[in-house]
Amino acid sequence: MGGWAIAVHGGAGVDPDLPRERQEEARNLLTRCLNIGISALRSSLPAIDVVELVVRELETDPLFNSGRGSALTEKATVEMEASIMDGPGRRCGAVSGITTVKNPVSLARLVMEKSPHSYLAFSGAEEFAKQQGVETVDNSYFITEDNLGMLKLAKEANSILFDYRIPLESCGAAVENPQLQMNGLPISVYAPE
């Protein structure tokens, strides 16, 4: 049997021109989350507790696209989703369309452990959150100035941007380089969405 191991990610849509200070911020957050997970593993917490603990930390920090700092819908609101899965017994829980729960990953875990289902969404998930007494906040808590700016640029570019943080000055690039692809198709195909 090998020892413990952990990996974290903060998204794969990275802007090639990401400024150095933003890169530093990302590295610091990833390192902090790794260390939270490592000390939990050293205290013999089970894997399912460690993944929830680390993702909660990532949701709470506004740097990456989840929880506070989530990408915005076409109506400048936040609709979050999360899932969690435990290898032994392949137990799992998932939620979508979450607008007020501070840590969606913990609601997903409650779906896995306190409901007969594996996936709850939108008003049903929000109702379940109230029953379970999880921490809720106003939707505005999740919205950041950065993302309002990016939504504005995405609308001007008439496009859907992947979950990457791009500094405002270079987002214009998204407008200039029409060959921006998504799923192998010109991004404009998605414009109606």
Binding site: M1, G2, G3, W4, A5, I6, A7, V8, H9, G10, G11, A12, G13, V14, P16, L18, L34, L41, S44, P46, A47, V50, V51, V55, E59, F64, N65, S66, G67, S70, A71, T73, E74, V78, E79, E81, I84, M85, D86, G87, P88, C92, A94, S96, V105, A108, Y119, F122, N147, M150, A154, S159, I160, L161, F162, D163, M182, N183, G184, E193
Partner: protein
């Protein structure tokens, strides 16, 4: 999108993924992150969390496929991760994933420009990367 995969000292794997989705997305759009088998999967063999273009990840059932090629083709963790990123993202879809195995291995792969990621193992290995 953010995610974490862990194998503990008992060899048990787990995975979790959380996201706000895509900027300027339609109301009601569901991505890969909450879909078990697409953005998140864990079993006796491994734990996987994906990120990137949700529609491509869903079509490729990326997370489950890592476990499937380990189970049915006998691939090791890094081979399985590389195989899936290379062969399951059709139509130029861009994505990345992180994975751990019940043997205490950790792996990641992506075909996008970069992926914010970090990993560590009990024998002291630790790496944080972007590109």
């Amino acid at each position: 999108t953010v995610g974490c995969v862990v194998v503990d000292s008992q060899g048990h794997c787990a995975a979790a993924t959380s996201t706000g989705g895509l900027m300027n997305k339609m109301m009601g759009r569901i991505g890969d992150s909450p879909l078990i088998g697409a953005g998140t999967y864990a079993c006796d063999l491994c734990g996987v969390s994906c990120t990137g273009e949700g529609e491509a990840i869903i079509r490729g059932t990326l997370a489950r496929d890592v476990a499937a090629v380990m189970e049915y083709k006998g691939l090791g963790l890094q081979e399985a991760v590389d195989y899936v990123i290379r062969n399951r993202l059709d139509g130029g879809g861009k994505a990345g994933l992180i994975a751990v195995s019940s043997k205490g291995e950790v792996a990641c792969a992506f075909n996008s420009v970069g992926m914010f990621r970090g990993c560590a193992t009990e024998d002291g290995f630790m790496e944080v990367g972007i590109w």
